[in-house]
Symmetry: C2
Subunit: 329 residues, 2 copies
């Protein structure tokens, strides 16, 4: 094990044998003999080198709970398919042009292909879950899929709405990230036959990790990042009610409120507004308090792991909690 | 029972008690406490008075196989949700403006809402299936969902392609209509614990009925219909390789082939082309042979019913076979 490797890489190394099975299943099941556009579109995204963090959560949870069968790979592939399907649909919804440093599928082909190939992968993911023979994983992942879609619809309607509070924000964040993280981890425990207390802890780990991850993303938007295709202030320009803005709006005086109404609610943005927004966040400590919230969620994720056996794999998941918030430490 | 009623109405009357349960479940499960746009969009489509033919196939199959539980309603609601989800996504893919005589959801709201609410209903449908406690219905309906998406992708790429043959056509038709008909009927038998021979017959009934239905649609496109939002020749203008055109192309001489290449493959259509296309179909008997094929599938559907107990419900399903092709008799 390379001591210099980050927790994500260490996780991939620790799970490499099972990950190879997952990749094999992904290749096999995204194929379509009759409609070659399906693997073309799928592979554009899946082959672009996603980090497989969600399927790794499933594999790690199953292993930590002593699973010795082969269906963890089916479950992990199903999780990755759901993730890929939501990315394809998100890019249509957001009219995105870049993803993972490459042009999006909706740009290379068309919106139609992205919608339909997403539907195909979603259906295939449920077929994979059926093969595990465990109804409860279908329950967990179909509920997660509903939460994801609901969160996205909520984002459509609640973003740009200054009345959006932290409860709605959390719901949206769970839809964007945490619901699939938590379902991926929980389902891994369920397939291993872990007791309820353990599967609940796995759920909490994934949920808290996903929320921390998204809050970090919200923060980094104000710092500029090296991530290709995202510039500082994108969220502000897209009028998204991220946690820093929600907190600054909550603390705003009348004049500041007028500023947020014009720039976020009405979307009339001018030169200098981004800088002014940043000053208001600073004035109310909105970035500092969001940072604190993110660190708190990462700690919650780590605390949930205590119920699991103290193995190297558990240590890596623990370190993953630190890694997610490392960029804001 | 009203002797004048058509088989669809008779089916609704015979199943009215169970249908009320299905409608109750549909209302309950399409709700979203947090994202009111979800029931708004769903209800726009579901409330517009679809004929509930697919859920009725599920209910009828379950009853014919002696089912006495309550989960047939969950299964039937799941089938209707999958159908509604595919309609929402189809209208985005086809850029449709009208459905069931009303403006489409993508027009009233936006493509985003149609994509995401479709995803939500799809997820909810799997939750409903989980409640039946029967993995095999999840297998059947997830496979049907994959066939539907695959057929739609195939339609994107194979239509306007003069090389499209009858095998590909059948695959597309199964995706558009027959896959959900057959899955709806088969799953109804499965939930009732029917033996394999019976569930296979139910599959065949739904499959053949769906294919006949789609072929009738292809034919009516050449006759003009009273259906709101569809005019004679729409398929030709949209360059779709429907069965009549596939058969006319197969029999075309060089000059005719040049006509089809220009109008379908290249899409350069002029005044008078629709009339010329109709003449070519007539010359090669393509409408007559498509009509014969549709009648053959309707008969196949009816023949599959013989294995079921001879009840009034079975008679109605039999008459539904006649009803589907009545418009071309």
């Amino acid at each position: 094990m390379d001591a210099e490797a980050n927790p994500q890489e260490r996780l991939a190394t620790a799970l490499s044998a099972r990950l190879a099975d997952v990749d094999g299943l992904i290749r096999e099941r995204m194929a379509s003999e009759h409609a070659p556009r399906i693997p073309a579109v799928s592979d554009h995204l899946i082959g672009a080198g996603g980090k497989r963090i969600r399927p790794m959560l499933t594999l790690a949870a199953a292993e930590l709970c002593g699973y010795r069968g082969r269906h963890d790979a089916h479950l992990a592939a199903a999780v990755e398919f759901i993730h890929t399907a939501t990315l394809l649909h998100d890019d249509v919804v957001d009219e995105s042009r870049q993803r993972r440093g490459r042009p999006t599928a909706n740009l290379l082909w068309d919106n139609k292909s992205s919608v339909l190939v997403g539907d195909y992968l979603f259906a295939r993911s449920f077929q994979l879950m059926v093969e595990t023979g465990t109804l409860r994983v279908l329950d967990i992942l179909s509920s997660a899929a509903a939460t994801i879609a609901e969160g996205e619809v909520l984002q459509l309607t609640a973003m740009s709405d200054l009345a959006t509070g932290e409860e709605t924000y959390l719901r949206i964040v769970r839809g964007k990230t945490a619901a699939l993280f938590s379902a991926a981890a929980e389902a891994g425990g369920v397939i291993a036959g872990a007791r309820d207390e353990v599967t609940r802890a796995l759920f909490t780990y994934g949920d808290a990790l996903g929320i921390a991850f998204q809050m970090v993303d919200d923060l980094l938007d104000w710092q500029g990042t090296e991530v290709i295709g995202k510039n500082a202030g994108d969220d502000f320009r897209e009028r998204k009610m991220t946690l820093p803005i929600i907190r600054a709006v909550a603390a705003a005086d009348d004049e500041e409120r007028a500023f947020w109404t014009r720039t976020i609610a009405k979307g009339r943005q001018e030169d200098g507004d981004l800088e002014q927004a940043a000053r208001l966040l600073e004035r109310h400590g909105a970035l500092a308090s969001t940072r604190k919230a993110a660190l708190g969620w990462a700690e919650r994720a780590q605390a949930a792991l205590k119920i699991l056996p103290a193995t190297e794999l558990r240590d890596i998941l623990h370190d993953l909690g630190d890694y997610v918030v490392m960029r804001i430490r």
